[in-house]
């Protein structure tokens, strides 16, 4: 019986596709101007082992000179417009889960001299037949090219809106960048392809006609370059659009097989493309059965601060903005006073608003570079204590630096964090590094400086010790669109059901202070019901809630 249940559960979870995900590695800091740095750690799980998957690997706005490469691509096929070999900022492939995971394990990053964030994103889904995935914006595109399906522009526009794919309503494709144009050109096996641009309202006044950019003005007069709006993508053929006969009000891409556009009248029966997805960042994709994850490494020492704020399901995150603050002389103050929008997923990035000027802290920090002499010995990992013991030759400590004051060490690219002083004698200074995971010597870029010898590792490392400095205390401060709207929002948050629940809890046992009644199931409820914030939920709080409700 038990086996039967297990089998049924397995079949059920397999059928429903539970547990599919993409996991991402921890962030790391790359060395500038270095090729072949390990960026493995992305893993696909939970997919059927026999299905063909679509996977996208992307570098999002990387510093100039940063690329990635897959050293192993066995069993993979590059999507149209991509090749497997070579350094890239974007690659879309198809293959089995095992083949893709093998390739991801061989992922390497090449950095240039420009420091900055290196955001790697991996997305995966079961490869949908008849659709093409654009790794730049994270949208799917479905070309409609069969002769019997070709139709007028207005039909194409209307039919697109009647379709859905992976939970997204379709729309006639918009072409808003040269890369998207190139994507359409490469993936749609047809010419004269309708896309969502029209001047049907005012001749020569071309606007985007669908999707999230609907209504955006593209150009104000006919002619290849006439009236083109700066910053808005246009790619018309020479002499086009020309509004010929006064009826050419609709745009086609791949005009006569070329990479440029033309305007045509609505009586043409043309192929078209349906686009799915309204976001600009692939990480914001909300496709169903589409799994994505990302990690932001850095090239060089770039300090970042990113937030995932969970507002619950009934609050519109995009109504909030965030500012970075620092706490100086017992007062909070903004750093750059820049308001950052919060995404629909509750994400906001304050990296560019951080105050990176450090102030004096406690202790000493040691950093290392490759050298000629083994000044450092690291003994084998002690799994029972989850630690390493290491010895630093005391000749590396300059005058005025006491070994006992050392609180953190950066040991090549193997360890960067706190250490615990143990002892020092005339020759060595001993420390512990507590870590639940063993050092990854194999993937270090400094293996030539690390020698295995018996039960220890000898490191040819030169030390530099400097007094510890620390960053100022920071804070993220949220604001709402405006105070009136915030008041309205709050009045829709604290309503009659909240007030009644508080009264019910109080009457069921909470009336004597902190005793738990029968209604609240969570400590958060007590916390929120404690309106006066004195640590006690009592009749004073319910009275205040009632006052709020009745406006008295």
């Amino acid at each position: 019986m038990k086996n039967l249940l297990v089998t049924l559960l397995f079949l059920l979870t397999s059928f429903l596709g539970f547990g599919q995900s993409v996991s991402a590695p921890d962030s790391k800091s790359f060395l500038p101007s270095t090729t072949g740095q390990d960026a493995s750690g992305f893993v696909l799980t939970g997919f059927s082992s026999t299905e063909t998957l679509l996977a996208s690997i992307s570098l999002l706005n990387p510093p100039s000179g940063t690329t990635f490469v897959l050293n192993t691509t066995t069993g993979l096929t590059a999507a149209s417009g991509f090749t497997l070999a070579g350094n890239k900022t974007r690659l879309v492939v198809t293959g089995t889960m095992a083949n893709i995971n093998t390739a991801l394990a061989s992922l390497k990053v090449n950095t240039g001299s420009v420091i900055g964030n290196v955001q790697l994103s991996v997305a995966a889904t079961v490869n949908p037949v008849g659709f093409f995935y654009n790794g730049v914006n994270g949208h799917f595109y479905k070309p409609i090219t069969a002769t019997t399906d070709r139709t007028t522009y207005t039909n194409a526009r209307a039919r697109s809106l009647l379709t859905t794919f992976k939970g997204q309503t379709g729309y006639l494709v918009t072409i808003t960048s040269s890369s998207e144009d190139a994507f359409i050109f490469a993936n749609v096996p047809a010419t004269n392809v309708w896309f969502a641009a029209t001047d049907e309202v005012v001749d020569g006044r071309w606007v985007i006609d669908a999707g999230p950019e609907k209504g955006t003005l593209m150009k104000t007069s006919n002619g290849q370059l006439n009236g083109n709006i700066p910053g808005v993508y246009n790619n018309w053929a020479q002499g086009e659009p020309n509004g010929s006969n006064g009826s050419e009000n609709y745009a086609v891409a791949k005009w006569n097989g070329a990479s440029t556009w033309n305007d045509l009248s609505n009586n043409w029966n043309n192929p078209y493309v349906i686009e799915y997805g309204t976001w600009t960042n692939p990480d914001d994709a909300t496709f169903t059965e589409f799994y994505t994850n990302s990690v932001t490494h850095t090239n060089g020492d770039v300090l970042t601060a990113r937030f995932n704020i969970d507002f619950g399901s009934n609050v519109d995150e995009t109504k909030f903005t965030a500012k970075a603050n620092t706490f100086v002389n017992n007062v909070w103050g903004t750093t750059t006073n820049t308001s950052r929008a919060i995404s629909g997923l509750g994400k906001v990035d304050l990296t560019n608003d951080l105050d990176t000027v450090k102030v004096n802290g406690n202790g000493v920090r040691g950093t290392t570079t490759g050298g000629q002499v083994e000044w450092l010995v690291v003994y084998d990992y002690e799994p029972q204590n989850q630690r390493y013991q290491l010895l630093i030759d005391k000749r590396e400590f300059p005058q005025g630096i006491s070994p006992s004051n050392v609180t953190s060490l950066q040991l090549f690219d193997v360890w960067n964090g706190p250490v615990t002083y143990q002892w020092d004698d005339g020759t060595w200074a001993a420390y512990y590094i507590y870590t639940p995971t063993e050092f990854n010597f194999t993937n270090s870029s400094f293996t030539s400086y690390i020698r295995r010898a018996g039960s220890f590792w000898g490191w040819s490392a030169e030390f530099t010790f400097t007094p510890n400095s620390v960053f100022k205390q920071h804070g993220i401060d949220l604001s709402y669109t405006n105070q009136t709207e915030l008041n309205t929002l709050y009045n829709s948050i604290v309503t009659v059901s909240d007030v009644f629940l508080a009264f019910k809890e109080l009457s069921n046992g909470g009336i004597f202070g902190n005793q738990s009644g029968l209604e609240f199931t969570s400590g958060i409820q007590f916390m929120n019901a404690d309106v006066d914030g004195n640590g006690i939920f009592n009749e004073s709080d319910t009275y205040k809630l009632l006052q709020h409700l009745t406006g008295v």
């Binding site: 850095t298 020492d301 770039v302 300090l303 970042t304 601060a305 704020i309 969970d310 619950g312 009934n314 609050v315 706490f327 450090k358 920090r365 953190s408 960067n416 400095s469 960053f471 205390q473 920071h474 804070g475 993220i476 401060d477 949220l478 604001s479 008041n487 309205t488 709050y490 009045n491 948050i493 604290v494 309503t495 009659v496 059901s497 007030v499 009644f500 629940l501 809890e505 902190n514 209604e519 609240f520 199931t521 969570s522 400590g523 958060i524 409820q525 007590f526 916390m527 929120n528 019901a529 404690d530 309106v531 914030g533 640590g535 809630l545 009632l546 409700l549 009745t550 406006g551 008295v552």
Partner: protein, 203 residues
Amino acid sequence: MKLYGKTEYDAITKSNWNTKFNSTRSLFPFSLNTGTLNNTYNVSATWVGDVNLSHSAQQSVSSIASSSIRSMSLTTNVVSTDIQASILTELVNGKAYAYISLNPLQNELVGTQFQLNYDNSVLKFDGVEFKTKGSPTNFGTNKGTYVNVGSLITDGSNTLDNTTEYRIMFTPTKNITNVLGLISVGSTDAVNKDGKQLKVKVN
């Protein structure tokens, strides 16, 4: 609004909440640790007064446990959690009126609330007349662009029935011939005797 680190938020319980209460802040402090360059912070938001947690982050552990249980359960006797309400507006003798009436259906209704939006460039709020049985706490508060109107029986000793009616009165400040488009229902709320939030279907 109150912001907490997710780990701290998830660890708040019925026995330790009063050590976490003093966090009435929309400013969440965070530390940039020396030696850690990539800092990602997971933050949970909640609100003072959001007793039923309708607009707050869910705690991870409890939500996972309860949803997995619910997904496996079978319900054979579904009790509606809806109540019905209707709104009628009229212009009589130069005064504008909105009537909200209720039908709790089979629910034991102890609280209702309506945000009745009105165009304050045309209408001036005069007051609310309540037709309710028992002795509920009735409220009708002008918020400038809407009226917060409803009833609450705080001890749950009685219930609101289908004779409940609110008459909201306005005086037009301009010449108007009808009130179409000038009055509408915004957000609503209702609660039954068990403290369960009910959906209000407005006809």
